[in-house]
Every structure is written in structure tokens, then in C-alpha cells.
Symmetry: C2
């Protein structure tokens, strides 16, 4: 525990989400009001549990994408704010259901809701937030945006099921892994960005560009997340280092280390992530193996690859401060320490 | 086990769903094709698990309501078929999540999916079906229908959370119980019926009438379901008699028996449904107490009360074979043996 391997490769520690946060600050305050308002219910457990998650913050990256994309596309109404709140609710619902599936104990640095209120409540409050998300989308009234977000909801669930199938499976290829993160993470980033262009009624080329930006940013984001699980510092990460390892999740660092490893290394991965026999020193051993096989550095290389695609996707938009903030968000997502 | 108390009160064993089934047969075949088609996925687990539930049948009462309501309103398009499939998917998703919450072992007479594929898969495939439901609704393109079904999704989840709060709580009043079944069951019956009028673009009065019909039918249906749990024959019921008792669910037969009982009776209910200390003979004892307090007969009386409201709600529609079939469905729902 607490073993920290510095991620190698070029880093830009000065990259920050601050410009993006500043540009959407006013709209985001509106989103936050809607979120608190919609998490209300006469059923006490719902606001309690929802607030536990909402108050614990998180970066709110997904709703920021919707707000920034709409702004970049010159959208003048207020539908983007409700779509952004919907996106955050979809994400929060996924987190609640994920925790049940993963049997997680920490989420965003706080005790996972399922341990405080039980799995039942996490399943059902997740369903409630999903219902509220669809209600808000319907209120906005854009069938185009509805279609994109409903598609994303189905794809995310499909991705989560795929992830179940890859769990504990050391035969998982990098392509299998990519298909999972494309569905479970990148689909919502893509939809969150695309709907900004769609409600602004911009041409298809701009919607497609924002979709591509979001998707590739999401892939990069998840790759880094999976690298951080073997390298981050627990206090800043807000979850436990080694969670994925203990859950038998087959993320790219493991896929690469398994494929590049000798018989002993493969036997180690089979005993631990496949069979679930994990001893006290095994996380350290796993981190050593991953370093030995350059698997963390290469996971970061993959993240940079998708980051570059995200960057080029935005090329058709004029250079201005929003575009610049969205580009910096790519760097931040790759170089973030948490 | 196997103790069967006949439900008292006037019964019409000749009431049948057959006329309704016959009237919507062609559309329902279409719905079934859509359901099988939409439960497809390249992720193997999804069609496997979805089909386990779908093949096990069930009455398909909810989608039939949508089809029949649209037909009664003279709807000529094919959107009602996709809305009906959405309604069934919403219902199936709820069943999957319910089984996780209730830790059920039987569902529609088959082993609950969660025992075959795990809780994780039940949660996630439920999410997938919900996503598909919303996709289909969006495809139909009626914002009015979307609003009604999205509202229902949020209310259903709220009802399920309320039910968690009443579980094991012997202080639950009849009003508390009604609020739960209104949300968890009647809301979808109401929405399923109402959308038939909405896509047919009929006046508000007809949409409201169908909503009222659906809601009250749903209340009656759930009341009878809860009565059957203390009286049905296991083989026809498709679930275990006494499931609610063992789960500590506070349904109306228990609410009434507890309130009408003497100190000993209350102590019995507190030990069993509140504390969960259930011995071998306790289900027989529970059934005896419920009979003694006339709680089953009065639960059926309540069901008849809501059935009567459902009947009057349809009064504004001309008398024809569809209306007649919908009215007979009320009788069937009350007098059904399973």
C-alpha cells in the first residue's frame, strides 16, 4: 500500500481545468442548483444518498463538456444547463450501480453509499437519478439530444456488462479492454460533448467533431484512471490504490504486463487477478511487474494517442478561449495526479 | 407451506384476459418481435439474461394496455407498438433490480436471474433494458409520451425506495402502503394506458380517463398480488407463497392484521416481519392470523374499490369490444388465481 511509481513520459503539470471551470462557472452554478433541486424527494433516503455523492464533488467534467460545447457553438438558450445536469445524473447513477457491482468501499474519497445505505438503496436511487435525468432531457425538448443521450445510456450499460465478462479474465486483449472503456466511459463523454452542438442546431460536422473530441478525451481519461490505480497517491486519488487489482479488473496495465511477462509473471497474474488469491505483498509485486514491463508508461502513451485525436477533432472550430480551455482539458486529463 | 385460504367475497371466475389478448394479438406479435430484437447485443450475457425473463412470459398486461388504449383511441400509426415494447422493457428492468433488492429466488416460476448470473448482471442488464426502452421511446418521437414514461420511471424508482423504508416496519399505515404501490406499480399501469391516448392525439379528457383507468387497475392488481402471497397456490402463482412474509415486506394483509390484532398478534408480527425471526410454522400462523382478522378479505375489498374507479374512468368512451375487454381485464385482475 502507498507504493507510488511516478508515471514516466513528458508531463505538463501546469495544464489545468481552471480555464474551462472559469468559462462555464455561471452555467455550472445553475447546473448545481438544478442537481440539488432534482435530488429532492419526499422520500428521505433519496436526497440523503444523492447528496452524499453530489457533495463529495468530483470534477464535474462531463457536464462541463456539455456547457462548453454549447457555448463554443454559440447556443443562446438555457437547455444546455438541463442537459448538463442530466449528464451528471446519468454519471452519478452509473457510479451508484458500479459500486454495487464492484463491491467498492470508497468513492470519491468517501465511504461508498452502498456501505452506508445498503446495496438496495444504491440500485434504486441510481434508478431514480436515471429517471430524473430522462425527465430533464424531455423537458429540454430536443429529440436529437434525447436520442444521443438515450443511446449513450444503453451503450454504457452494455459496456458495464462487457466489463463483467472481462473481469478476472487474463486472456483479455487490448482490443477487448478498449471496447469496454469505449462503452462504459467514452460514450458519455462523447454524448455530453455532442449534445452541445445539437441543441445549438449546428451542422453535423460540428456535432461529429465534438463527439470525436469527447470520445477520445474519455478514452484518454479512463486510461489514465486505470494507470493511476497502480500509481496514484491514495490521499489525492480519492479511492484506494490497488482497488482494480483487488477487484480482479483487467485494465490495460495488467493486459500489457501479462502479455509481456514470462511464465512466472503470468502465473502471478493468474493467481491474483484471475483466481483472486491476493496476499499482503502482492500489490507491491504487481506494481513492480507493471513497471518492469513498462506497462504503466505505455498505458500513458495510449492516453496521449487518444488525446492527440481529441485535439485534432477540434481543429474545425475557430481559435478562441473556449477551444483553448477544451484543449487544455485534454492535457489536464492526461497529466492529472488524481 | 402449501396452505391455501380461499379468498372470500364475490368472485367472477369466468372473467378472463382472453378478449383483450385476442384484440391486440397482431400488435402483440409485433411487440414480441421488437422485444427479442432489442434484447440482442454482441455482449452475450445481455440476450441470455433478457431472454430468461422474456421467455418466462408473464401476462404482458402493461404493454397490452398501451396497445388497447391506442386502439380504443383510433390510433393508426405503429408508434404504439414501440411504446408498448418500451413499457415492457421498463417493467422487466424493474423486475431485475427488484430481485436484487429483495434477494428473491423465484420470478415468474423460474429461478431468479440474479441466482444464475449474479446480482451484478441483474443490475447492469436492467440498466441496459432501461436504456433500450428510452431509445425506442425517442424513436417514436412523441415528446408527450416521452414525458409520461420518463415521469413514470422516476416515480417507480421512488416507490421502490419508499418500499425499502417500509420494509420490516410494522408501524406502516395503510396510507403508507398505498403510496408505495401507487408509485411502484400503479404509475406504470397509468403511464402505459395514458400514452395510448397521447400518441393518438386525443383530447386531454381521454388521456386523463385512461390514466385513471390504468392507475386504479394497477392498484387493484398489486393489492391482489399481495393477497395472493398469503393465499395462492405455489404452482400457479409462479413464485413462492410467503415470499413477502419471509422478506419482511409490509403489505396490506399484514398492516390490517397488525392493527386489528391483540398484543400477542402484534408480538408475532414484530418477531417475524420486523425482526426476521421466522420459524417453520410461522407462515401457517401468519395465514391464520390474517384470516382471523379478515385481512385477506378486506384487502380484496380494497382491490374491488379501485377496480370500480377504473371501471367508471372508462365511462366516457363509447361501448365497444375494446372497452368491454378493458373492463373485463379489471375483473380478471381481481379474480385471478395467479
Amino acid at each position: 500500500m502507498g507504493v507510488v511509481v511516478k508515471l514516466s513520459g513528458p508531463r505538463d503539470p501546469s495544464a489545468s481545468l481552471a480555464p474551462l471551470v472559469a468559462l462555464v462557472e455561471e452555467d455550472m452554478a445553475h447546473v448545481n442548483r438544478i442537481i440539488l433541486d432534482r435530488a429532492r424527494s419526499h422520500v428521505d433516503l433519496i436526497p440523503e444518498l444523492a447528496r452524499h455523492l453530489i457533495d463529495s464533488g468530483g470534477k464535474r467534467l462531463r457536464p462541463m463538456l456539455t456547457l462548453a460545447a454549447a457555448k463554443m457553438c454559440g447556443y443562446a438558450g438555457d437547455g444546455h444547463v438541463r442537459l448538463a445536469a442530466s449528464v451528471e445524473f446519468m454519471h452519478t447513477a452509473t457510479l451508484l450501480h458500479d459500486d454495487v457491482v464492484d463491491e467498492s468501499s470508497l468513492r470519491r474519497g468517501k465511504i461508498a453509499a452502498r456501505l452506508l445505505w445498503g446495496n438496495e438503496a444504491s440500485v434504486l436511487v441510481g434508478d431514480y437519478l436515471l429517471g430524473q435525468a430522462f425527465k430533464m432531457m424531455v423537458d429540454v425538448g430536443s429529440l436529437g439530444a434525447l436520442r444521443i443521450l438515450a443511446d449513450a445510456a444503453a451503450i454504457i450499460a452494455e459496456g458495464e456488462v462487457m466489463q463483467l465478462a472481462t473481469a478476472n479474465n487474463t486472456e483479455t486483449t487490448e482490443d477487448d479492454y478498449l471496447a469496454v472503456i469505449d462503452a462504459k466511459t467514452a460514450a458519455l463523454f462523447a454524448a455530453a460533448s455532442e449534445v452541445g452542438a445539437v441543441i445549438a442546431e449546428r451542422p453535423k460536422s460540428e456535432a461529429a467533431a465534438l463527439r470525436s473530441y469527447g470520445r477520445n478525451l474519455g478514452l484518454a481519461f479512463q486510461l489514465v484512471d486505470d494507470a493511476l490505480d497502480y500509481s496514484g497517491e491514495q490521499s489525492t486519488l480519492g479511492k484506494s490504490v490497488g482497488d482494480d487489482f483487488r477487484d480482479g479488473k483487467i485494465t490495460l496495465p495488467v493486459v500489457l504486463s501479462y502479455r509481456r511477462g514470462n511464465q512466472d509473471a503470468r502465473a502471478f497474474w493468474e493467481r491474483t487477478v484471475k483466481e483472486g488469491e491476493i496476499g499482503e505483498d502482492d500489490l507491491d509485486k504487481a506494481i513492480d511487474l507493471i513497471a518492469q514491463h513498462n506497462a504503466l508508461a505505455d498505458t500513458m502513451e495510449r492516453a496521449r494517442h487518444y488525446g492527440a485525436i481529441a485535439r485534432d477533432a477540434l481543429a474545425i472550430f475557430p481559435d478562441d478561449e473556449i477551444k483553448s480551455a477544451l484543449l487544455e482539458a485534454i492535457e489536464f486529463s492526461i497529466d492529472r495526479p488524481f
